[in-house]
Point group: C2
Chain length 673, copies 2
Amino acid sequence: MVPHPLRALSLEETKTARDVILSLHKDVVVDFREIYLQEPAKEGMKQFLDLEHSLRLSPTSKRPPRLAKCQYDIVGSDRIPEYHESIVDIDVKKRVKHEIIGKERQASLTLWEFQILIEACKKSKMFQNAIAEFKLLDGFELVVEPWPYGGLDFGAENRRYFQGLCFAQDTRNGNADSNFYAYPLPLIPILDAHKKEIVRIDRLATGGKGDSLTGKTHSERIIDHCQPAEYVPELLKNGTRKDVKPINITQPEGPSFKVTDESLVEWQKWRFRVSFNPREGAVIHDIHYDGRSVMYRLSISEMTVPYADPRPPFHRKQAFDFGDGGAGNCANNLSLGCDCLGVIKYFDGVVIESDGEPRVHPNVICLHEQDNGIGWKHTNWRTGRAVVTRYRELVVQFIITLANYEYVFAYKFDQAGGITVEVRATGIVSVVSIDVGKTSSYGNVVSGGVLAQNHQHIFCVRSDPAIDGHKNTVLHEESHTAPWDKVTNPNGNFYEIRKTVINKSTGLDAAPQHNRVIKIVNPNKKNPISGNPVGYKFTPPPTQKLLATPGSIQAQRALFTNHHVWVTKYRDNELYAAGRFTLQSQLEIDGVAEMAKRNDDVTNEDVVLWSVFGLTHNPRVEDWPVMPVDIFQLNFRPADFFSANPAIDVPSTKNTSSVLVEKNDCCAGKQKL
Amino acid sequence: MVPHPLRALSLEETKTARDVILSLHKDVVVDFREIYLQEPAKEGMKQFLDLEHSLRLSPTSKRPPRLAKCQYDIVGSDRIPEYHESIVDIDVKKRVKHEIIGKERQASLTLWEFQILIEACKKSKMFQNAIAEFKLLDGFELVVEPWPYGGLDFGAENRRYFQGLCFAQDTRNGNADSNFYAYPLPLIPILDAHKKEIVRIDRLATGGKGDSLTGKTHSERIIDHCQPAEYVPELLKNGTRKDVKPINITQPEGPSFKVTDESLVEWQKWRFRVSFNPREGAVIHDIHYDGRSVMYRLSISEMTVPYADPRPPFHRKQAFDFGDGGAGNCANNLSLGCDCLGVIKYFDGVVIESDGEPRVHPNVICLHEQDNGIGWKHTNWRTGRAVVTRYRELVVQFIITLANYEYVFAYKFDQAGGITVEVRATGIVSVVSIDVGKTSSYGNVVSGGVLAQNHQHIFCVRSDPAIDGHKNTVLHEESHTAPWDKVTNPNGNFYEIRKTVINKSTGLDAAPQHNRVIKIVNPNKKNPISGNPVGYKFTPPPTQKLLATPGSIQAQRALFTNHHVWVTKYRDNELYAAGRFTLQSQLEIDGVAEMAKRNDDVTNEDVVLWSVFGLTHNPRVEDWPVMPVDIFQLNFRPADFFSANPAIDVPSTKNTSSVLVEKNDCCAGKQKL
């Protein structure tokens, strides 16, 4: 059976691609980084999807070629790796594109490179001597946590670096999951990844308010005033709470969704495809509702997490979790009854080892339905008749772990035609040492000797709409107070709706004071009821933009954070808001800011929207040791796309499993229940 | 047993109060409006609660008196009702306060007044003649929907008016719940409530873009181009969808909460009281977590819904759903398995008839637990060990119906110390006639001949914090870009946190561009970890403020909408953001704007916070005939109140009821699952 063009590469296809690459690079070492589907060019894909949706697809129909994007280092006799990207046509087993990436760009990191850092630390005399300066308590052992190096300083040579954050782990409890983040050590070894050597140790300031940005103030016994901060249940001093009784979610008739071809999801008039790749994690394709096209592609494109502690080298704490390490690579293998409840369908991914050998990355995406309270309700107060429906959602979820931190990403589809992209931030906040008794302007003391530094998380969701077709127009709609006017506003209650069409590719901002709503419409098709063009809308979350000083490395490499919304004209392969190569970047190159600068016509064109939102996270003590989720949502809603509320036909069935509390269950007292 | 001082009045107490009032007004007719608990003055209550929480309460302890607030009209021989408010001490059966409200204020409306409008329409020749101008199709019958009159025009005599929105109902299907809103008629009868007569008929413009604000353009057959818009399932043309399989939520071990004394709720270290009154609906009192005080009182204080259609008399469409009609009066009687799922505890309310006879208003509040996805998670990538907990919430919910529209209000408590106030807007949008084929700048055509007018919903949540005691301080915290500085910001990554203490009572606004967060702290108690004062925080939702022209009646009577946040110094009986009397008001009197103007010291004082947020609702076709919920949240979160994440001891128990999809359940295709 021929795979659907949007389906992720199978193990076999991945192997084929690997073999083609190996056959082309014979007398050298090939260290593979990634192999994954190179999605078809849109023109060919549009033709294919037209056939598919009109049920005219036949075995002889023209199909876009199955292409594999292969990323790898070639290590020649000089032992300096050279980074290549190739595209292999799987069907004909041929390379169709080959690009040697120059020295100016760094490939995304892989987990095997993290291992190099760990090994190099063990071998480095310089590092061992530095560590020996600290008197660790008996039973404490060193943990090195590899991080990307952040942006290269101006003028620095663009070698490939990694940095290691150092902690001590209390091993006396014999539990490998004892929380070492509670014992930070104030030094950072720097790896030259090509030399595989620690080339420098950065010493960290540990002072507080009033202390200088550099200079040692800490004693060699700095972790003595740290305290345990355990989160694994068997290490909690008082155990877990005993009064949480189970909430069971069962679906006795099975789920309401259908999954075929391991990628095609059908649920409640929705139909879309799910794929998975190492950079973006779960991606949603070809979204239709009731046979009508809504979006061509929906993905989380990028995020950046800059830290605000001005003391060098903390300015290099700035991750691009999609571009640097790959959200798909970092995706959790999800677990039944923990990460989601009910009847669950999991999707596997395929990842590769450095020898290019593919393996299944199991349960990287979960799919399930959930109840989210009341969906719509109306009571006729004359008759007392209430009609109430539930808000049922279908959730495509993946979760990534990046060293200390986690993100839960979900695409949620609802019965009223809405699509919500949700991000939950959780995990352990990034911390550094602080001297006993001090406080800081750069973060909050969340545990003895532990400073959680102020930082931001800024996300970018890329949506490639196809509202009843690929030619769409973007406009923003605002509501404005109108002046008194005897004729047009005699009582002062009128407010004016202003619509502004976005004619050229650009960036624009949220404007909650004007209730600015972004609409994506198909100017060629009118709603039969309202006469307005059919469309979808979203309100850009007016979250704070990047705070780093304009012109700083942190700001320059994340130009995508300069606006809440970008509107660009579609081009194949433009998927990444901060550009293809973010690792160690000093400047965002080929990112969305550049795409927007082309000044393309974007009315009645194939447009792409990029929504940027996030949080300024100045940690609370309550974020320690693992922070409760902070939840962010981007809501796409139909706006005159349908002829009525599409959820009006949801049955208002009474759920028969709900019961009244029984008196002996929960309630006591002298009064009747 | 003596009722707790915060418990709502029982049937018996209500009767006692009624009888005291009747005994004091003998030779007149007394038309009762409301009788409900006059909450104790705070000073006495503080002493009582101190005893209660320190377990020193004894039968001889001093208790605040049980007081009833009684609202009623006295109808003397001149037949013009005079509105009175009295406070009755239940224990001693004595009136302790009596206030005759002047003519300048209007009492809240009651449902029996709505009935007067209906009857007056039937009796009014003028109205019957006006209706006869329309040629209704056979089988269509008139429906008059009573509304408050909105703000009195400048210079108008302050008589008591009601207005009726007119619709035709298709009775041919024999279903009393056939949706009459689909057939609006362009006239509004005006009732003089004291005379009980229709005194005027307002004719409504029905034109579109380019038409004047007044003047008739419609034909007598205006509803001929209207279409059915049914939502009750038995009237749906194609029935309800068949593919929604049940999601059952069961709690085999019962709920985790405990309710005693019909008002005291204990759940997961939370402890608070729930009461119900006709104006505010459900109110939460005396909120503690793990024995520590968080809030004295939390309530929805007010909301206003101004309509933006400038054509007179639509400027009078402006409801204050709490002050005008009473959220408690309009509360739905909730239904098991429909309005919430799982194990449900319902609370009843007590309301009165016009003769003062109390009756139980059953199931006006529901209490239940729910699962809201992942609560916190961390995976140790070295060992692969994931610890993941669920986000369990306890929900206190009530739902109100105001003619066409509904709001679902919920107070949600979570295991991480957070309190969320949630509003869901649903129901049927308010509509008026529009001529066939026209469109309008004042709203959207959502069905043939039906214009859904642009409007806003602006809510005010009142929180009376008591962070580890009643003396609290409010500050706002912002994050700001810092300039380059060789010494303090050498790499440009630093951002500065600015804290500003609110010294005097005032209004202030959301500032998302600066990540403005409002913190309520107890300046007398420091967090032992961070050294910061213990506190709670919330981010003011930066939603659009009232759009009506400054100085207009709509704006003047809703001055509370001028700011996103108000900080005032506590005074007894100051509960209502738009003042005690909103019905027909021309100006907000004794509302929060006045309270703030006192310029009270509010540092280390008993402070009250008022959070104003809402939505500008320019209707979509998808909002018809019943709109999918639009969801708004205000999130109170601990900020250095605790010494760690209070949910860290939530067990990471795997839910055993979750299952994998089975192939024949949902999935097909040639590929392995």
